[in-house]
């Protein structure tokens, strides 16, 4: 916008001129300073008064800085919003930012600006329309909900895809403002889902996910289209679409791994055996699996739905996306949907993401950790990519450790353990503790290395770091708890350690172990107690507690040897400085030493102390996390986040796949072919059409830019022309073009899918309908061109459209009736049933012979029927009610007067005689001038017979036509006498004056048109 542009439209009073002079002062000064309040009123004047160029500074600097800092700038609202109609784009944008921020607080003032946006919605420039809708829908003021709704609906059928995209964005905004609008919004979503442009696809699926994710039925028809468009959608849209399609596929297709999972369940005993094979020879294993799968498949064949395959095929290239979110989305799709043998492809891409920012690594590793529990083999080749560097953040280190632990098996455990050994020396103590736990888990999972691990851990007991020792003791304790009887030597070894180990936590843990398993080391345990009793007074508190425990347990199992020792220890403890220990000693003494007063509890002392303690389970915290959709926030947190859509289980039996077939919409096409080709149209076009369409379609598919395979020069040209023409000036026409082309594509797709489909039942019906139609066409020989009228429009008829014409053929059941030929076309996507007529409301005397009920009208098909109406020689409309199985439509048929008669044969003499009898009031004469082109006899005859159902009197001197009205049989005589220079005289003789008058008008119109 030029700097010299005029003053702002909303000039304030005269004071403004003065204010403008020190305009720069407050702005260049500190806005963040606390005294901005003092200046605030001044700003207000400035904003109201300034030149446009300066406004940028004020609106921008002042209000934005305050918004950005979270300060309340709402006082400036009226002043700022005034500028909404400003022509300067930057000012406008800044005002929009401000408006959207504060509209909720200042609703009344915000409403003042609405009209500006409403004007913008009608702008010829698509970008302005889009931005107007964007801001309008961002204003969170409930009063304007109807306006927003209207704007969205209008924009959804805008010819510019960009505006339609904006409409899709506006849907969730309106929904969050007023959830009551849901139903209407779903209609808009449904409409936009059918959109064929990549620009819209991502946004509308996002709206779908926010408004009505449960309406999976809306996706059926668009499923294939979405799959095909996917690669050309912008990256954010891809993520949303892929996540939605994952859920969709889970409801619509069968589990491709069903057979294999059965196998696993059946042979769970063998599982470990296979597991050990896995890494040795992946190929062999795969072959084996395949063979097994094949064997099973014989029993229970599984054929993947072609649509399922389509989804997998079309998402695979996106693993190469630069956007980590897209890669993750595809990876989770493969993990949840692909057959086991194919899931492997995602590993490489996920490992690549580990090079990215640490936040990305964090999320990816979480998901990899879950995947490795189920599909360990997938990531085994990439084991080394999960090795830990000292520079990794602790969060990442711990996750990598988790993955390494999950990947460990008999073959790689030695390398992994060697790696763990270096980790133990790390400076990051949290990480060291996690490593020790990981070693413990490896030891429990892999029997072979349990002893090695235990030995390693035992060595760690002498580590200087308390955390390390404590963690090792805890892990050893857990390991020993699993098979204590086998490891009495380790317990013995640990007993020996008590002489050396000084870390109290470790000593305590060892004492607990010996106490717990004193039966396995019956000789050593009392000796340990003896040593401990000796050093009791020097021990730390936690050790003292464990000594007490040990003493109690030994007393219960081996009281002969340890009775005195226990007494001694308890006495020492009785006078300890720590009250905790004194308490414990008192408690134990009461429990174990039988006295006269001892309560019932002492009977159960053994049970209390030596209860069998369950072995702690060492399993991955990522186990069972895969019931959450991978890559989701809920999975990451392992808790259901708000708005999370459950990943449904596979269905038992596949739902009807035909729901995804897209129906034909080629009414016009077939309509033409039908009349011309009559008999043989059925056979001919099927194949020819199909192939030509397919060719055309292939061309179209190439058009999308990213996905084209054959470079040539084609894509360049198209890109050139399209971008050039997309400039704002002629963008409208351009988009219109693209729209029409997309529409033709749509019908192509439809026809193709229809051909694919083999719905026999349906075809039968079609054929039947065609037969009926043919017989009708054969019996009726239309004289001249028949003019058809619309009875029911496809919009009001919800896809059903009806046309009628007057066949001018005698209606055989009742000669007094006019035959009306109806043509029904089903434009909707579902079939229409039981098409019939009911409750005819007629003028008195009128009669109707209804047409036979049409049982079934398949989608996209056409059917005809003939009905008879006795109009009683009046042009009053016959009001009828047309019913389908679901709906009723009120329609009316109004006959042109010319159709209310039928021709009679009169000789010229008879004609003259009759004419002579119908003179006076029954004769109407009109002068007219014929157009030069239509002065010949033939033209006149044709025009008159078209206008009225009459026959020409043969060999007449003038053009004479005769007929009788259908009901009463009154004669209608028409004479067109031509003179010189196109002057002609029209005479109509008819007993019924009303009909006569109307006929004159009609014929006059026909002749002079």
């Amino acid at each position: 916008m030029s700097a010299s542009s005029a003053f702002n439209e909303e000039k304030m009073g005269s004071s403004s001129v003065g204010e403008a002079e020190y305009a720069y002062d407050p702005v260049s000064g500190k806005i963040f300073s606390s005294d901005y309040n003092r200046h605030q009123s001044r700003y207000r004047c400035i904003i109201c008064a300034q030149k446009e160029s300066h406004l940028v500074h004020y609106v921008g600097r002042v209000s934005l800085q305050m918004i950005a800092r979270g300060k309340n700038a709402s006082d400036l609202f009226p002043a700022v919003v005034k500028n909404v109609a400003c022509k300067n784009i930057e000012v406008k944008k800044l005002v929009y930012v401000y408006l959207v921020r504060y509209a909720e607080e200042q609703q009344d003032l915000a409403l003042l600006s609405i009209s500006t946006f409403q004007r913008g919605l009608k702008d010829p420039n698509q970008l302005i329309r889009a931005s107007a809708l964007r801001v309008l829908s961002s204003i969170r003021v409930t009063i304007i909900v109807p306006i927003m709704m209207l704007a969205i609906k209008e924009a959804a059928s805008d010819m510019s895809p960009y505006v339609r995209k904006t409409a899709a964005h506006a849907i969730p905004k309106l929904y969050s403002l007023d959830p009551e609008q849901k139903d209407q919004l779903i209609e808009v979503i449904e409409k936009l889902l059918a959109d064929k442009t990549t620009l819209v696809a991502g946004s509308v699926v996002m709206a779908f996910e926010e408004v009505c994710p449960e309406r999976i039925d809306l996706i059926h028809k668009n499923y294939r289209k979405l799959c095909n468009l996917l690669i050309d959608v912008e990256e954010w849209g891809q993520v949303v679409i892929i996540n939605m399609l994952t859920r969709y596929a889970r409801t619509q297709f069968l589990n491709p791994n069903l057979n294999e999972s059965l196998l696993e369940d059946g042979g769970s005993g063998d599982k470990t055996f296979y597991g050990s094979d896995e890494d040795e020879d992946d190929d062999e294993k795969e072959n084996k699996e395949k063979a097994e799968a094949a064997a099973l498949a014989k029993r229970k064949p599984y054929v993947m739905d072609p649509d399922h395959r389509l989804l997998l095929r079309n998402t695979k290239p996106l693993l190469q996306s630069r956007n980590a979110a897209v890669v993750m989305a595809v990876a989770q799709l493969y993990f949840h949907l692909a057959p086991k043998a194919e899931v492997g492809v995602i590993a490489k891409a996920l490992v690549r993401l580990l090079r990215s920012h640490s936040e990305v690594q964090f999320v990816v590793l979480q998901n990899v950790a879950t995947m490795t529990i189920r599909r360990r083999g997938m990531f085994e080749p990439y084991l080394k990519s999960f090795y830990i560097r000292s520079t990794d953040p602790t969060l990442i280190k711990i996750l990598k450790l988790e993955v390494l632990t999950n990947l460990a098996n008999e073959t790689n455990i030695s390398t992994i353990l060697r790696e763990f050994q270096t980790y133990i020396k790390s400076m990051d103590k949290d990480f060291v503790a996690a490593t020790i736990q990981a070693i413990g888990r490896c030891a429990t999972n892999i029997g072979e290395v349990r002893d090695t691990c235990l030995n390693g851990l035992v060595q760690l007991l002498s580590n200087r770091d308390e955390l390390v020792v404590a963690e090792s003791v805890v892990v050893i304790k857990k390991l020993l708890q699993m098979q204590p009887e086998k490891h009495s030597d380790i317990i013995k070894h640990m007993a020996k350690l008590t002489d050396n180990i000084q870390v109290p936590m470790a000593r305590a843990s060892i004492l607990w172990l010996i106490g717990e398993y004193c039966e396995h080391v019956p000789k050593i345990a009392p000796d340990v107690l003896r040593k401990m009793a000796k050093s009791f007074t020097y021990e730390e508190d936690i050790v003292k507690l464990q000594i007490l425990n040990l003493a109690a347990k030994l007393y219960l199992t081996n009281s002969k040897q340890t009775k005195l020792l226990t007494q001694y220890v308890l006495n020492l403890a009785k006078y300890d400085q720590n009250y905790d220990i004194r308490d414990r000693a008192r408690f134990i003494r009461q429990l174990i030493v039988p006295t006269e007063k001892s309560g019932a509890l002492s009977k159960y002392a053994k049970k209390l102390f030596l209860a069998l303690k369950p072995a702690p389970v060492l399993e991955s915290p990522f186990k069972d996390r895969d019931h959450f959709q991978l890559g989701s926030l809920s999975h990451l947190l392992n808790a259901k986040a708000g708005g999370y859509q459950e990943l449904p289980d596979w269905p038992e039996a596949a739902p009807d796949p035909s729901v995804r077939n897209v129906e034909t919409e080629e009414v016009l096409n077939t309509g033409e072919g039908r009349i011309g080709l009559l008999g043989d149209w059925r056979e001919v076009p099927e194949w020819t059409k199909c192939s030509s369409r397919e060719k055309r379609k292939e061309k179209k598919v190439e058009k999308p830019f990213y996905s084209d395979s054959e470079g040539e020069s084609g894509p360049t040209e198209s890109a050139d022309s399209e971008t050039n023409s997309a400039s704002a000036s002629d963008s409208a026409s351009d988009s219109e073009q693209s729209r029409s082309s997309s529409e033709s594509e749509e019908s192509d797709e439809g026809s193709e899918s229809e051909e694919e489909k083999e719905n026999k039942n349906k075809k039968k019906v079609v054929k039947k309908a065609v037969k009926e139609r043919d017989t009708i066409f054969q019996t009726i020989t239309p004289s001249g061109t028949l003019k058809s009228y619309e009875l029911l429009h496809r919009i009001t008829g919800e896809g059903l459209s009806v046309e009628y014409c007057f066949g001018r053929q005698p209606f055989s059941p009742d000669a007094n009736m006019v035959a009306v030929q109806l043509q029904f076309t089903n434009n909707s996507t579902s079939e229409t049933k039981n098409l019939h007529m009911k409750d005819v409301k007629l003028q008195s005397g009128m009669r109707v012979k209804e047409f036979p009920e049409i049982e079934l009208l398949p989608a996209g098909d056409t059917a005809s029927a003939v009905m008879g109406i006795d109009f009683c020689d009046s042009t009053q409309a016959a009001n009828l009610q047309l019913c389908t199985s679901t709906r009723k439509f009120f329609v009316s048929i109004q006959p042109p007067v010319g159709e209310l008669m039928r021709p009679v044969f009169l000789t010229e003499n008879e004609f003259k005689r009759e004419q002579g009898q119908l003179m006076g009031m029954n004769e109407l004469t009109e002068k007219l001038i014929l157009d030069a082109k239509y002065r010949n006899e033939h033209a006149i005859v044709q025009r008159v017979t078209t206008a009225a159902h009459l026959s020409r009197v043969p060999c007449g001197s003038d053009n004479e036509f005769a007929g009788r009205t259908v009901t009463s049989g009154s004669l209608v005589l028409v004479t067109v006498a031509t003179g010189e220079e196109g002057v002609a005289q029209l005479t109509v003789n008819c007993e019924k004056m009303v009909i006569g008058t109307m006929l004159v008008k009609d014929i006059l119109l026909a002749l002079t048109q």
Binding site: E90, R140, R322, A325, L633, Y706, D708, A728, S731
Partner: protein
């Protein structure tokens, strides 16, 4: 999807907030500060923090936390990737992404954020489109704007969003038409105590700077495309052509962009261009430790190893280090215990060496952990994997562009365990 964005600096001040839906109070960041306190290191703050009503997803770049507030389920990577894209855009616009730069350009930042998200869903993230919408500030333009009062906002409406090639702006004109490609490879390696390689991988990128008039269509082919094991492309690259012919065919965005990043198949043995001889020992009982480090080149194909920088996190017990470098300079930070040695170029005749003693805390026991040594280096004019560009062709435009290809090898995460 994304509700709000808060920018928090290293000292914990929220210096910018932006809301796309209703306003979320900045007190929500208290949960973030809590997590920050709990984490010892700045990078240890968990990227996703659940709070009672919201979820906070944050990224840390240039010592600024970008904290996005989310209210309901959304793929976390979606948000993280977007936040990184925001940072990249800021960097692209202001050269640096610092608190000062953002504060200075508040208006542009706001305009950018407004364009990038609509109702929390990404709208325009492509740099070429954004630059058409909002002109990046330059010193000259800022001056001109101040004097004439014109603005940063593009005058004509952006058509890029509507075109088939959304990543390229229209009507590009240059007097000198040039296309430069940098093939940069990074070696990630872990070398163990004895000098044998535990793991080594090569990751590469091809960064391009294309300044070509009109709407050129480029193809880039390699001598040995089989080397590339795993690739990810800029959206402009035609994927099917790559699948079929292993040729990169694309209409480039205008300016700088990353065309391709790749991973060299792990079957190939990776040549490690440097070796390290080290002897870092602490003796029991003594309060001193010995430090001796020598670097040397190997398998560099005659190219010089430059800009070598060695860093190592010494054990906590180390109080001070008295070292003597044969070349370059070293620093030791007694607080963070970080030792860095700026070596410079490695001279194969006279290998760089750093030798001396470390003083331990008196009375402290010998540390059990051994420090790891991180090495950075650069080798010009060589791609370590041996990848070579065969030719670059242009179609669709008449003029003859100037083409240039540069190779470079760098150390990525190159670590030597001791």
């Amino acid at each position: 999807m994304i509700h709000s964005l808060f920018l928090i600096n290293a000292s914990g001040d929220i210096f910018l907030e932006k809301h796309w839906k209703s306003v979320v109070s900045r007190s929500v960041c208290d949960y973030f500060f809590e997590a920050q306190e709990r984490a010892t290191e700045p990078e240890n703050v968990p990227p996703v923090i659940p709070t009672p009503h919201h979820y906070l997803i944050s990224v840390l770049r240039h010592r600024i936390y970008f904290v996005a507030v989310i209210q309901s389920e959304v793929p976390p990577l979606f948000v993280i990737e977007f936040l990184h894209r925001v940072v990249d855009t800021f960097q692209d616009y202001f050269g640096v992404c610092t608190e000062a730069a953002i504060k200075d350009n508040v208006v542009v930042v706001y305009e950018l954020l407004e364009e990038m998200l609509d109702n929390g869903f990404p709208l325009a993230t492509e740099s070429n489109i954004l630059k058409e919408l909002i002109k990046p500030p330059t010193i000259l333009r800022t001056m001109v704007n101040t004097i004439t009062g014109s603005t940063n906002v593009g005058e004509q409406l952006p058509t890029g969003q509507l075109s088939v090639v959304p990543w390229r702006r229209t009507g590009v004109k240059y007097t000198n038409n040039e296309a430069y490609f940098d093939v940069v490879e990074e070696i990630d390696a872990i070398i163990d105590k004895s000098g044998s390689t535990i793991t080594a991988e090569i990751q590469g990128v091809i960064d391009a700077c294309v300044k070509l008039t009109g709407m050129p269509d480029l193809t880039l082919s390699f001598m040995n495309p089989r080397l590339l094991d795993d690739v990810s492309f800029h959206p402009c690259v035609r994927f099917k052509r790559w699948e079929a012919e292993r040729i990169l065919s694309f209409i480039p965005p205008d300016g700088n962009f990353r065309l391709l990043s790749y991973h060299v198949s792990s079957q190939n043995l990776v040549a490690i261009p440097v070796y390290v001889k080290h002897n870092i020992t602490f003796r029991e009982g003594s309060s001193q430790g010995r430090f001796d480090l020598t670097l040397g080149p190997k398998q560099t194909m005659g190219k010089a190893v430059e800009s070598v920088l060695v860093s190592s996190q010494l054990p906590r017990g180390v109080l001070n280090a008295n070292l003597n470098p044969s070349q370059g300079a070293y620093t030791f930070d007694p607080v963070t215990k970080l030792l860095t040695w700026d070596v410079g170029k490695i001279n194969p005749q006279k290998l760089p060496n750093l030798k001396g003693t470390m003083n331990l805390q008196a009375g402290a026991s010998k540390p059990d952990e051994n420090p790891t040594i991180n090495i950075q280096f650069k080798i010009q004019q060589m791609a370590i994997s041996g990848l070579k560009v065969n030719r670059l062709d242009m179609y669709g435009e008449k003029y003859k562009p100037f083409k240039g290809i540069k190779y470079m090898t760098k150390a990525g995460k190159f670590q030597v365990r001791t």
